[in-house]
């Protein structure tokens, strides 16, 4: 992380007074014992107590806080529900945590325009809860949906099991209100489509708290499909499971969800919540098909046939909605389930081309031997998004370092086969130093120039995403060479 600014640490009392002038009462947290509640997010191997925490309730307060911090040169780390898995909300010793938990109101539900406008602290599931009595829902569904906030979903461009068919957060956001570090309040998009100017809505989504603070969110809501059924298909090899996934997609079937788990993950999940999974298979697919009953029946036949053709040894279709949700409960609780079989685990998040699933799993098994640590795999197979859970014991000397080295090897492997470092969890602090595996210096500098357009003094979440910090003035410098007219021999007309 960037070296703490001694001057900022020295002026902490002044900062706190100034914050209290903006947010009165309990909205400014300064006691060490209370600050500890904010020292980490969902990536709990990293911890840092912040300088202070401020919990504003209005956009105007957010703007004043940012202006103050910018004036005093104080860094700001935005935080939603703190469930992020890449350390995006990890505090800085010399920085303020700007928590958005008090922005928890649903502002407007407009069924006719299929849009819901909410404050960023509303949970992902909270949106669905607010509209489900009219048959609507909000499609992206990260496993943490009961707790994670929509503002955090915007910051990380969160996915979930249904994004294969319904898209990620970025494909379901219509509008934002944001506050820039200089306190300027901007509206991007709205209930209409295709905002004017550059697609800053698209850029804000997945920007990990580095560009601006989101204070209002408008999302698309959809009518729930008439029916949804899930199929469990067990295989005696991961190759068969992977081949079935590829065959389903290749046949033009886009399921509502298409997930895969390997044997360690299946058993951990089954121990944890008795979802009805077979224990004697090496790979388990969960395939959900949704739509009108006639369509689901038809597609269920197609998918079942493919699973059989690829040697499925276990097939079970959900008989009712209760059973379907039970099938999903195992998958959605895979992380806590892993927490029961191992003192610690870290969850990786690479994405690979689907046809690389089996070879990557094979090489992951070799890496597991090399690093001497076990791994359980759950993943969004339909879109090639892997979640290897590396199991370790943080109390054993050296195990955490080995787990991190194992994780880095897995992500490098993902990039090597044509994939990427992170599919839905974000870069944060966790994958920051691996960015050069995917991007060269020019690529990274250009991304940072975009940051400079939003945050020229770089007070928002510095130290995350980019392995090397450059000053904006340095990034803007340009070396101009006068030269000959290029390749005059080429055709010109």
């Amino acid at each position: 992380m960037p070296k703490p600014d001694a001057e900022v640490l020295r002026r902490r009392a002044d900062l706190i007074d100034a914050l209290r002038a903006i947010v009165p009462g309990e909205g400014v947290i300064v006691e060490n014992a209370e600050l500890r509640a904010y020292e980490t997010d969902g990536l709990s191997v990293y911890r840092q107590v912040p300088l202070a925490v401020v919990l504003p309730e209005t956009t105007a307060e957010v703007a004043e806080i940012l202006k103050l911090c910018r004036r005093m040169g104080v860094k700001v780390v935005a935080r939603g529900a703190g469930t992020g898995l890449s350390g995006g909300a990890l505090p800085l010793e010399d920085g303020v945590v700007l928590g958005l938990s008090k922005f928890n109101r649903i502002l407007d539900i407009d069924y006719e325009n299929r849009a819901a406008t909410v404050q960023p602290g509303v949970t992902n599931l909270g949106i669905t809860r607010a509209v489900e009595h009219q048959g609507f829902y909000y499609a992206p569904d990260p496993s943490s949906q009961i707790a994670c906030s929509i503002g955090g979903n915007i910051a990380e461009n969160s996915g979930g099991v249904h994004c294969l068919k319904y898209g990620l957060t970025t494909n379901n956001v219509l509008g934002l209100e944001i506050v820039l570090p200089d306190g300027e309040i901007l509206r991007l998009g709205g209930k209409h489509l295709d905002a004017a100017g550059y697609d800053l809505l698209g850029v804000m989504t997945g920007s990990e708290g580095l560009l601006g603070i989101v204070t209002e969110v408008t999302v698309r809501i959809l009518q729930k499909p008439e029916t949804a059924r899930a199929l469990l298909a067990g295989f005696s090899t991961v190759e068969q499971g992977g081949a079935t996934v590829a065959a389903i997609i290749a046949a033009g079937v886009i399921p509502g969800g298409l997930e895969m788990m390997d044997r360690p993950a299946i058993n951990a999940a089954e121990d944890f919540c008795h979802a009805g999974y077979p224990r004697d298979v090496e790979a388990l697919l969960i395939c959900e098909l949704d739509g009108p009953a006639a369509e689901v029946d038809h597609l269920m036949g197609v998918v079942t046939g493919m699973a059989r053709q690829h040697g499925a040894t276990f097939l079970k279709e959900s008989a009712n909605d209760e059973e379907r949700l039970k099938f999903w409960a195992g998958r959605k609780n895979a992380f806590p389930a892993a927490g029961r079989i191992s003192p610690d685990y870290i969850c990786m998040d690479g994405t690979i081309p689907r046809n690389q699933i089996a070879p990557v799993l094979r090489r992951m098994a070799e890496l597991s031997d090399k690093h001497g640590l076990k791994v359980a795999n759950v993943f969004h197979a339909g879109d090639g998004n892997l979640h290897p859970l590396i199991l370790f014991d943080g109390n054993e000397p050296g195990q955490q370092a080995r787990a991190e080295a194992f994780g880095a090897d897995i992500l490098k492997l993902c990039v090597e086969v044509g994939g990427v470092l992170t599919g839905e969890h974000g870069v944060g602090i966790e994958k920051r130093d691996l960015m050069p595996e995917m991007f060269n210096e020019d690529d990274l500098k250009q991304q940072q120039r975009l940051k400079c357009a939003f945050d020229p003094t770089q007070i928002l979440n510095p130290g995350k995403v980019f392995p090397t910090l450059h000053r904006c003035a340095e990034l803007g410098r340009m070396h101009v060479h006068k030269g000959r007219i290029p390749f005059p021999e080429l055709e010109r007309f």
Partner: protein
């Protein structure tokens, strides 16, 4: 003396842009040039033509992914996809004819640079939602890449979104990687006739159902009258489209009919080839008078469609797509549909773009939707972060952008 450069590789592209930076000589970036009649006219010394950066690089139908050079004709890509029963689900529109060029010439780079999506944008998203990766040369004269070839990727900022719809003002796209999807085996379109307000309401009701409506448009009588598809002319129509496997299409069509017919609305249906032909006519604006010199494009929340019809219906011919949220207005001149009137009707919740007008008009009025001062300033800073010397399509979108 203006020169046209046509680099044939990313390295040549990089050299060309670096040269232009050195000379302080702005470039107009064009593919097939079919959208030159749209937007603010670019004041550039030279032309950079991307059509030699052509060819499909990777196409893996089973992985639902393709990549191609920016100059590859869309027609080539669509033909290749059709062979494998796939398509670009964002339904790229072809405005060649309405903009006074020919149809079928545009490049894939132009489609993404303009973020062009057609009627199915309603369900499937815009071009920007399907762009997975880009390689481009920025106004720093450097090759950069962003994204990748997989569907799910949050590694770094999503520069693909920024490139889509940037009209070549930030970087020159050289290669694009995008998502492709299976084409529906069949489709049907419900054609409703009746009172305008009821038809617009029916569009909104249809997309609020679970029947997966992929497109929904309102055709005033003049627009319907231009259709070559049997059964469309003769009255104002609402068209509601469903796609998918045969039995599912029939089921959804019938459910929608049960829901929407009655209360003064009648319904007929067209299927498959007729349905596709009608939606091509709607998407490519064949149902508007292509000779009309002025064309406005309005984006509003669908519930405001009736208000737009009321306010602007007598200013020219109209066509409503995206369940009423996309409004086209073709007018005989700017006198009939001046910016104050059109933008005055849209107000804040939406925006209006002057898509087509004589060049002298496009020089003098803001053709892109006006931005708030703060947003315009941020757009300018973004532009400066990619193209500090302003050599790439300067002023294509806004002054200084």
């Amino acid at each position: 003396m203006p020169v046209t450069f046509a680099p044939g590789s990313i390295d040549e592209l990089e050299k060309t842009v670096a040269w232009a930076i050195g000379e302080g000589a702005p470039l107009e970036i064009v593919g097939a040039g079919t959208k030159r009649g749209f937007g603010r006219p670019v004041e550039a010394a030279h032309v950079l033509d991307t059509t030699r950066l052509a060819g499909i690089g990777l196409y893996e139908p089973d992985e639902l992914v393709m990549s191609a050079g920016a100059g590859t004709p869309l027609a080539v890509i669509e033909a290749e996809l059709a062979e494998r029963g796939q398509e670009l689900a964002f339904d790229p529109a072809d405005y060649g004819l309405i903009l006074g060029d020919e149809a079928g010439r545009q490049t894939i780079g132009g489609v993404f640079a303009a973020n062009l999506a057609g009627s199915k944008r309603l369900k499937n998203g815009a071009a920007r939602d399907h762009l997975l990766g880009v390689q481009a040369v920025t106004g720093y004269g450097r090759i950069v890449k962003s994204g990748g070839r997989v569907m799910k990727n949050v590694t770094g900022y999503d520069l693909c979104k920024l490139m889509a719809g940037s009209y070549g003002t930030l970087a020159v796209l050289s290669h694009l990687t995008f998502k492709v999807l299976p084409r529906a085996e069949s489709e049907a379109t419900l054609l409703l006739a009746g009172d305008a307000a009821k038809l617009l309401h029916a569009l909104r009701r249809s997309v609020g159902t679970a029947y997966d409506v992929s497109a929904a448009a309102y055709l005033p009588e003049a627009a319907a009258g231009r259709s070559t598809v049997q059964g469309v002319a003769g009255a104002a129509r609402a068209a509601v489209r469903v796609e998918g496997a045969g039995p599912s299409v029939a089921y959804r069509r019938d459910r929608l009919k049960d829901l929407l017919v009655g209360d003064g609305l009648d319904a007929a249906a067209v299927a498959d080839e007729d349905s596709r032909a009608l939606w091509r006519e709607i998407r490519d604006l064949r149902l508007l008078d292509s000779a009309a010199p002025v064309l406005w494009r309005l984006s509003v929340p669908p519930t405001r469609a009736g208000e737009m019809l009321e306010a602007l219906g007598d200013a020219g011919e109209t066509l409503f797509d995206w369940a009423g949220g996309l409004v086209w207005l073709a007018a005989s001149g700017l006198e009939a549909a001046p910016p104050e009137r059109v933008r005055g009707a849209v107000r804040e919740d939406g925006h209006a773009t002057l898509v087509k007008a004589p060049i002298e008009i496009r020089r003098t009025i803001e053709v892109m939707p006006p931005l708030s001062p703060g947003l315009l300033a941020l757009n300018r800073r973004v532009k400066a972060g990619f193209d500090p010397k302003g050599v790439l399509n300067p002023g294509r979108l806004y002054g200084g952008v």
